[in-house]
Assembly symmetry: C2
Homo-oligomer: 249 residues x 2
């Protein structure tokens, strides 16, 4: 039997945000590969082997998945959110490029999902309704100087900004530096959205003006969205709506 | 009965990319509001009124939807892709802010969807696997000078770039200018992905080096993704994989 490898996005957490395409891929799979908490979201059944692995072994995990697909298995690599956004798809293609030639001819597909920034934006209103950028704040994979450079250029371009991985246990100081750079580069009180564990029972959304944002408002499960200079807040009973108008005069 | 307004993302086209949350919202709706081709994707049924409207009447459409929700109807505003990305969510919140105070207290929710850039990226590989930005190239809603400025700053930040609305009938020259600016600012042969009508029967994906990109490769149904300086192509039989590695040294 010809093997296949689907890199599938499970969305931010809730089952009602998983696409039918991904549900079908999981139902057809013989093997599920991924980080422990994501594999735990897949129900066990006869004929399905789960291969949970630890964090930070993305290339090993990708090679294992590719080997199984080459052996004729129907493999699904699971990511949270969208696999193409700071998740497993790039890791799999890195492994393909570095691997044996025959891996290039495998049936490899990416099944998109609801990525964290879009789930978070939806819960707050429409903060990404105008031009925006997405930056991974982890400096495991790039130098801090590049992150700072991108933050300053993004502020100069007046993008709204979505930050993935704002605060890791191993490098808690990075997000404090991010807030310092943004306060310096933006110099205003634009809204910052801290969206934790969106679509799960632990969901918590908090909106503060940039000068009031504090590093401890984010943890590893938090998505941070910083508005552009034009982002607006609509006050109301309960949580405000935050949105960025479509137009700039 | 208390009314509600859900701004729902239908994804790029295929039914298997519509989330269960959106499917459920459509099933519960009394009224569907949106641009003609998106409303046409919703099946008629007893008790459901369809309100299709023309392009470029987003604020009128939003007001109509808000009025019906205030009257106790269960209204769904449909967008293609994700409603928060260059789509209807920002328009609805603009109407809320400018409208009567009682609109602020309505039950308004955004149901995210698979936005075009993520569907296109998935079909090409993982071109958005590192930091990136999303820019609406339509200059109906902002001056061309701002678009050009953002393109140059995005190139300087070495973001991959996803372009929505690259080429409209009314302003065909804008995308030619975009390509000129990018060639000038990037000065290399990074890959450009033209992804037309992703997930529909008319889907067509084309990958060319930046200097070979031509305005006529994009139309109104095309999403354009330009790689960063690190984006790579994996050649193979058939369409290549395009991906941006997670790391920068």
């Amino acid at each position: 039997m010809t093997g296949s490898l689907i890199i599938a996005g499970l969305g931010p957490g809730a089952d009602h945000l998983v696409t039918p395409e991904v549900t079908e891929a999981l139902a057809q799979a013989t093997d599920i590969v991924g980080y422990i908490p994501y594999v735990a979201r897949v129900a066990e059944r006869p004929g399905l082997t789960l291969h949970p692995s630890d964090n930070r072994v993305e290339i090993d995990r990708s090679r294992h998945a590719l080997e199984m697909a080459a052996d004729g298995r129907q493999v699904v690599v699971v990511s949270s959110g969208d696999p193409g956004v700071f998740a497993m798809a790039a890791a799999v293609f890195e492994a393909v490029e570095a691997g044996p030639d025959h891996w290039r001819d495998l049936d490899i597909r990416v099944a998109p999902g609801i990525t964290a920034m879009l789930a978070a934006a939806a819960r707050a209103g429409a903060p990404l309704g105008h031009d925006f950028c997405a930056i991974n704040l982890s400096d495991n994979l790039k130098p801090w100087a590049l992150i700072e450079r991108r933050l300053r250029l993004a502020a100069e371009a007046d993008f709204a900004m979505a930050f993935y991985n704002p605060r890791s246990k191993s490098r808690p100081e990075g997000f404090a530096r991010t807030l310092d750079v943004l306060n310096d580069a933006c110099g205003d009180a634009r809204p910052v959205i801290f969206a934790r564990a969106v679509s799960t029972p632990e969901e918590a959304i908090r909106v503060v003006p940039l000068p009031d944002a504090r590093p401890e408002m984010a943890d590893m499960r938090t998505m941070v969205i910083v508005g552009s200079s034009t982002t607006r807040i609509i006050t109301r009973d309960g949580a405000p709506f935050v949105y960025t108008p479509r137009s700039v005069a």
